[in-house]
Symmetry: D2
Subunit: 349 residues, 4 copies
Amino acid sequence: MILPKNNRLTPEQVQEVTAIVAEFGCKLQPIVGALRTIYAIVGDERDELMINRLEGLDYVERIDRIQSPFKLMDRRSDLARHRIAVGARTLGDGLLVIAGQCTIDPKQPQFYLETAQAVKEAGADALRGGVWKPRTNPYSFQGDARSLEILMEASRRTGLPVVTEVMELEHINLALDAGVHVLQIGARNALNYSLLRQVGRAIAGRTQTVVMLKRSLHNGPLSEFISAAEYIAAFGNPNVLLCPRGTQPQLEGYRNQPDESITPLLKEKTWAPVVVDPSHSVGKAAYVPAAALAAVAYGCDGLCLEAHVDPQHGIGDDPKQAVTPAVLAGLVTRARALHASLRPARAAA
Amino acid sequence: MILPKNNRLTPEQVQEVTAIVAEFGCKLQPIVGALRTIYAIVGDERDELMINRLEGLDYVERIDRIQSPFKLMDRRSDLARHRIAVGARTLGDGLLVIAGQCTIDPKQPQFYLETAQAVKEAGADALRGGVWKPRTNPYSFQGDARSLEILMEASRRTGLPVVTEVMELEHINLALDAGVHVLQIGARNALNYSLLRQVGRAIAGRTQTVVMLKRSLHNGPLSEFISAAEYIAAFGNPNVLLCPRGTQPQLEGYRNQPDESITPLLKEKTWAPVVVDPSHSVGKAAYVPAAALAAVAYGCDGLCLEAHVDPQHGIGDDPKQAVTPAVLAGLVTRARALHASLRPARAAA
Amino acid sequence: MILPKNNRLTPEQVQEVTAIVAEFGCKLQPIVGALRTIYAIVGDERDELMINRLEGLDYVERIDRIQSPFKLMDRRSDLARHRIAVGARTLGDGLLVIAGQCTIDPKQPQFYLETAQAVKEAGADALRGGVWKPRTNPYSFQGDARSLEILMEASRRTGLPVVTEVMELEHINLALDAGVHVLQIGARNALNYSLLRQVGRAIAGRTQTVVMLKRSLHNGPLSEFISAAEYIAAFGNPNVLLCPRGTQPQLEGYRNQPDESITPLLKEKTWAPVVVDPSHSVGKAAYVPAAALAAVAYGCDGLCLEAHVDPQHGIGDDPKQAVTPAVLAGLVTRARALHASLRPARAAA
Amino acid sequence: MILPKNNRLTPEQVQEVTAIVAEFGCKLQPIVGALRTIYAIVGDERDELMINRLEGLDYVERIDRIQSPFKLMDRRSDLARHRIAVGARTLGDGLLVIAGQCTIDPKQPQFYLETAQAVKEAGADALRGGVWKPRTNPYSFQGDARSLEILMEASRRTGLPVVTEVMELEHINLALDAGVHVLQIGARNALNYSLLRQVGRAIAGRTQTVVMLKRSLHNGPLSEFISAAEYIAAFGNPNVLLCPRGTQPQLEGYRNQPDESITPLLKEKTWAPVVVDPSHSVGKAAYVPAAALAAVAYGCDGLCLEAHVDPQHGIGDDPKQAVTPAVLAGLVTRARALHASLRPARAAA
């Protein structure tokens, strides 16, 4: 939809616009209003180059996009009935709970193994554990590949699938070789299209492997978030979970601006399951239970939570963000009860 | 600086906090106020783990950071007198102008070669040209390595250094092998610490090679932006230019929220030159001259601009964002005049 | 706390700063750190003029505020045990539910009277109903004082207290004379200090009258929100409810950016009850039940909801935002159940 | 323009929508696209109640507004040739400079009288001076009506028109009776529609009286800002200046987020002159000259600046924000030179 700066286009402008859209196989249809005429682009308006050329015209105020820019992840695509499982839990069928440490301390493997057992007992379906870490400060601990063995040992002992963040191709290969079930793309790489393509290529054909894609740090358009998932799915494996985790600038007092509220908006555009991360959203253990419940209230399909048997002796964000297993157990019980009570509302949607 | 939730810490809390900071070689000093006591951390407070552990305590309201988290890029570091050159232009010595196409069309090399010549004539010191492109839409044109040859041919013909964006290790290697002078890290990879490390490693020892680091899409803390530069510099080559380019969420009507105004704030924290990109900030050619002048008004050291001999036949963002060589020439003249007139103000700062 | 731009102040600077703080009855205490010295202001640092004078010094990077700028509304004030009642509901003792139309249609009194009866049956404790309306468009319906009679008639029929927005002194006087129980200050007047003073003066001594203060449209500091409540309380009546209602810029797809997540942060600073308005936050009836539950999850003491027996025949925001009585009844039941289940968590806080 | 959630409306939905728009004298016209059908509202779509009713339909994704919601202030209205003068300066004809103290100290009249003389010599066209002040903290100095006499005395001595902020009807009456030339509506009252109406009513017929309307604190839609001006103009006097002054949340390091960049966007929608206030935008004297020049670069018609002969002995924001007359003089010279050099660009627009 083309909105001119003036009340209508001149005949010469109509001619120029008609020629541009014709190059992309589209036609122009004027919509004559009482005060202003606007112009519909009839055809497939999704070519960004056509949009850019039209937006480049002096006499165009703006272009309103009508069509969804993604194909596979769209709620109206054939994939809408696709089901994703993480371990024993099929998304959409009870609340998925992923829990574990922000960062695995390679010098303290027992902490992670104990945390893994404890979060399982607290009701978690899958374990999270950071092997490689993106850190703002270049002189902070950046993770250690040896932690991957600890992560997989925890998986074997608990029988739970594991989630870990990958930041480059080498991580992807090491993680998949080790048997990691869910690859996480972090917020800082949420629009790193090279990495998204590498992940998409790596998991093509691996129908049991899942990607958890965090939302970028900025409060950007939802279509940008879903398009990032489309990058991965375009290689053939649409097992992508969307993970809101708070945006910047932060809400004063929290680590980020909580964004669990985008869940219903995502669900109107995409069939992809939504797994919210309240731990990064609020950034402090004391606020996590409330934020987790709020995410369930907004209709999420899962939660990703930081937990640690002894937060003050954790590394990374754990001393600040991780809840104890006791808090986790209470939180999971309340969250699952609320999720179950909302089943009629989901069924009606 | 530790601010307790209550008016002061209890003796037991003081003991616990004292023990934590002691693990990191620091001491605690209470500041007794009329209504409230706060607690200074005496020593090097930059260890993030210490901060995280303190922030994890229930009775702590917040920690105010006093010290700069970066070392090499700090305005007060020994590197403050380091000078960076791009081709014949030393930063700080006249306004650096980088200009050229968003994207090189591999099927239309003559466009880029003509643009290069034209922007040189308009006064540019260096050429920009996109070889590989990060695109929101996975089905859009993603760039083509053959464009690298066109870029280098333009450099040879004009004698100007060239800038191109790299998104993965393979791009870095190809670009450096071809002789690219300035590697650009784009906004979507601004916090991709794997890539920052790869770039830092690749340019270590190459004293003629420069990195232009774009600001991340979110309106995040300036220390995060400077820390990203520190990642690169930590490998030995501190030739990093900081490039604000607008943030999200956008200002209605522009592509982004213009952020040239951070320039004076950056300069209070870091010695790194600031090169503003008005083209991405406002996202439409008609607004670029005003935004470029505003950036100079705010004290930037350089501009990075999209220009094209025939914008409507460009690809990528060019039909929308690129100015013509004639507009560029007028803009460069006015920008350099304003920059020169501000020399006394800079000298006084 | 004074942070200098350089690593420490010069003796002359120390002298100047000492003289300034002495004018306000304070002393300066240096905190000598390993790399940097900062300076505590010992005494009552709340005078804004002192802060402004210190921030005006060239060599000062920033001032970190330590003390709370409000006295009566502070969580640590003597008023912390004050209890506010709206009709039969004491805040903090079960979830307060306020519901009703955005706007009373003066030509259709029966709609409001039916809505009032229906929301009472759905479990509401109080009725909301707009008599005067702040509208972006000067040519839209701005309300009508005749609606005040309809509002009071609804109160008499249902026995419920009523809430209505006041925008100027005349509204305050008319509303109080008519017997309105809760005066609402809207988001656009949330920092209209003249109006806040007029309301504070008008309700001084009326211990049964309550003010519901909406949050300003911008995502501003929480201390600014609480200070606005302090304006009212300073005249003697601290019956103020804080009402988050979403901020701007909006989250794409909602009317505003939902902000129920500030509830726990408010409660750390003030004893004032928090009543969230999900209707304005999301701005569309279909999202209201989820947003209301999320607000309860975050610990609010009450909800303010738009409801209408026949939304499509309402005026103002009702066709878009109002839920039907049936939806309201389900929402209230679930919200009260969740609120009750969180009682142990509140008791522990 | 109506965008349905699904690819097209069902016949029943078309019927319902057609009936709604018909109530408001409009017709529905489907635009059949390759993938999706959208529906234009043909007629005057500006009635907010019609929009609300359409947005309230379950099957509607969103409504795209096509028409301008304001009539008098629209760039395409008959008033586009209206010219506003402040004293000897006609807006659009050379850069208007308003300068003076944030707050007049009623105990120190000589400060204001000296400042007035000094800013006149520095090139100002009009004097600003705060008589009544909106203050976040209820216990801070709130202004004093006695300052009004000092303001008018300064006007008489210098021959310059004066600007002061009004916050309630009593202020408006006192200011107009005293002969104030420009009434300022502050950011906190920018959407206080009662006050806007009172001002509009009070200045109707006073063709020499002007209103300077500051932008609201939130980064809201530009149409909302212009609609606030329309409130005033609707009473018959369209002498309204639009004043961007920075928005919240602040940019870390400044008082607000600078927003001079909205100037070209405002000018595409309205003929109203734009007068930028850099002092409140950045909030610290050292940054004001750069921000003022940036505003001129973006095409503003005037500047409103805080200045004081002795900032450290000012009250209100002056110790922090006010520039000295010497700085002001340099700033005005550079700003007017830049403004003059941009005349060809303005003429071309």
